[in-house]
């Protein structure tokens, strides 16, 4: 009876299963197929199977792009961790209206399109942007300094976009911690800092880890922020994929770049799972 009911229940997966098969799995299979065609600008998408599109990635040009992508993702994750902790702690320690207001402030940026937020950063950091005109008017600088189209600006905008995810992820764990644990540490004579360092922080690490994984993966795959804030100067894997598809018409190379990025994402996810299993 139970078996039959569960077979029936799993039928409920059919509509979603059909969507994922047609729109996720089949496309990834076709990416794989395309990546095995001979590459080249305007490549005709036919010919014998070859690994040339993967061999092309050995060029130092692409190596530098992968390194930059990973560096941006790592820095974004680091800053999100550093800033996400105080935010999560502050929400978990407050009650009533202040807590609700903080939660609202925390999630509200998620409701604004990534393009609109990137546009906001352009207005702030551009040559005639608010930051430059403020610095000019108080005489710190004589001519606008270039803030936009730099790796730093891309990281800044990514941190802003992904900080809520990190904070929410840590908060989910902090809210579940028994307050008695901290009280016990305090009762035994630990200072506030010692309590945080030896009790709260170690117990909340799983939340920080899952937040870090999420932030790392999403920043590695983000397109709008590097495209708008980094421009043509700061090329990352995803913007390079776009260029290969729309400007160079080298679809096999775009496909091999895509699959290499997906493989990297899977490796990162696997590493995070290892860490988690080791009890971090």
């Amino acid at each position: 009876m139970h078996m039959r009911r569960d077979t029936k229940t799993s039928m409920l997966l059919l509509p979603s299963g059909a969507i994922y098969t047609a729109l996720l799995l089949a496309p990834i299979a076709l990416l794989l197929r395309t990546s095995l065609l001979p590459e080249g600008p305007g490549a005709p998408l036919e010919g014998p199977l070859s690994l040339s599109s993967y061999a092309a990635l050995a060029d130092p040009y692409y190596g530098a792009i992968f390194v930059r992508t990973l560096r941006i993702a790592a820095l974004t994750t680091l800053f999100c961790l550093l800033l996400g902790y105080p935010l999560a702690l502050s929400v978990s320690r407050s009650r009533g209206t202040w807590r609700r207001l903080q939660l609202l402030l925390l999630v509200s940026p998620l409701f604004v399109s990534v393009v609109v937020r990137a546009y906001g950063w352009m207005l702030l950091l551009g040559n005639r942007g608010l930051v430059n005109s403020a610095l000019l008017s108080i005489g710190v600088i004589d001519a606008p300094i270039r803030l936009l189209y730099s790796e730093g600006a891309v990281v800044l905008a990514l941190v802003e976009a992904l900080l809520p995810f990190m904070a929410i992820s840590i908060l989910a764990i902090l809210d579940r911690l028994a307050p008695e644990l901290e009280e016990a540490a305090r009762g035994l004579g630990a200072s506030k800092f010692e309590t945080f360092r030896h009790v709260t922080l170690p117990l909340s690490l799983p939340g920080a880890l899952s937040g870090a994984l999420l932030v790392f993966m999403v920043s590695m795959g983000s397109y709008a922020t590097p495209a708008l804030i980094g421009g043509a100067r700061i090329r990352v894997v995803v913007t390079e994929i776009y260029t290969q598809v729309m400007a160079v018409f080298n679809w096999p190379l775009a496909a091999s770049l895509s699959l290499t990025l997906l493989a990297l994402a899977l490796v990162v996810a696997q590493l995070a799972r290892r860490l988690e299993a080791r009890g971090l």
């Binding site: 569960d6 229940t9 409920l12 997966l13 509509p15 979603s16 299963g17 969507i19 047609a22 729109l23 996720l24 089949a26 496309p27 076709l30 990416l31 395309t34 800033l83 105080p86 502050s90 407050s94 609700r100 939660l103 609202l104 402030l105 925390l106 999630v107 509200s108 940026p109 409701f111 604004v112 399109s113 393009v115 609109v116 937020r117 546009y119 906001g120 950063w121 207005l123 702030l124 005639r128 005109s133 900080l163 809520p164 929410i168 989910a172 993966m217 795959g221 983000s222 709008a224 495209a227 708008l228 995803v238 776009y242 598809v245 729309m246 496909a255 895509s258 990025l261 997906l262 996810a269």
Partner: protein
């Protein structure tokens, strides 16, 4: 002390959207602070920009369609994934949630290649946009509805079954009312995610079929005036209204 520490962080989170709203009322093309005066000129200009107005319409249509698809397919899937006990459930759940973290542009490229190989007739129509947005909203719905189902008491449904309700009746009369706030929040979220998504639309816009984020992107590339700031402000206000109506902050559950 904590408040003094986190206040600048909240300022940082709100800086970019707020500056866009501020710029939309700016009389000149150059951003000035403090303001000399405010104007609604750019809002008037917005409605003369056919491409932006059309894009708003396309985005509303695509987001509505994607939300409907995500609800119809996602609610049953969330139910099966949380209540069912079958082999491969965890692997399936991981697969179903994967579009949340996979690079949107890569998913879009896969769709583009699949479409140009298997169904070239669809290139240039609104269909690939609908498919791409359905794919990205579905995992949001599955996640939000699963979270609500996990907190809802399964015994109530069993009780209804015991009293003779069919599985369908038990679901619609007992379970669905219990998880309704979660489903409403999921629908609002799906709509907002689709409306704001950029990467998945990039390859599928052409001529008259352009979503608002792509139209904004193109506009920023070509012109330097606050018209798109006005469009963005309208979207922010619309989103705030939608969130306020469907998930009052008092009861708001985090996704």
């Amino acid at each position: 002390m904590m408040r003094a520490l986190v206040a600048p962080l909240y300022g940082f989170l709100l800086a970019a959207p707020l500056i866009v709203v501020y710029y939309s009322f700016s009389p000149g093309v150059v951003l000035e602070f403090p303001p000399k005066e405010f104007t609604l000129t750019w809002y008037e200009n917005l409605f003369e920009r056919q491409r932006l107005v059309q894009a708003i319409g396309v985005s509303v249509f695509v987001a509505t369609f994607a939300t409907a698809v995500a609800l119809i397919a996602g609610v049953p899937a969330a139910y099966a994934l949380t209540r069912g006990r079958f082999v491969g459930r965890h692997a399936l759940a991981a697969l179903f949630l994967s579009p949340l973290v996979l690079p949107g542009l890569v998913l879009a490229l896969g769709l583009l290649m699949a479409m140009s190989t298997l169904a070239p007739g669809l290139v240039g129509t609104v269909w690939p946009l609908l498919g791409a947005h359905g794919l990205i909203t579905l995992p949001w719905v599955i996640r939000a509805v699963s979270a609500s189902l996990e907190t809802a008491d399964p015994h109530l449904e069993d009780a209804a079954r015991g009293l003779g309700a069919t599985p369908l009746a038990a679901f619609f009369l007992v379970t669905l009312p219990a998880i309704r706030p979660g489903v409403t929040a999921a629908a609002a979220f799906a709509f907002i995610v689709s409306f704001g998504n950029f990467a998945l639309s990039m390859f599928f816009t052409s001529g008259t079929v352009t979503t608002l984020p792509v139209a904004i992107f193109e506009y920023i590339d070509q012109f330097q005036d606050p018209t798109v700031a006005a469009a963005s402000t309208l979207v922010i206000v619309g989103t705030a209204v939608l969130v306020g109506l469907t998930a009052p902050p008092r009861k708001m559950e985090l996704p």
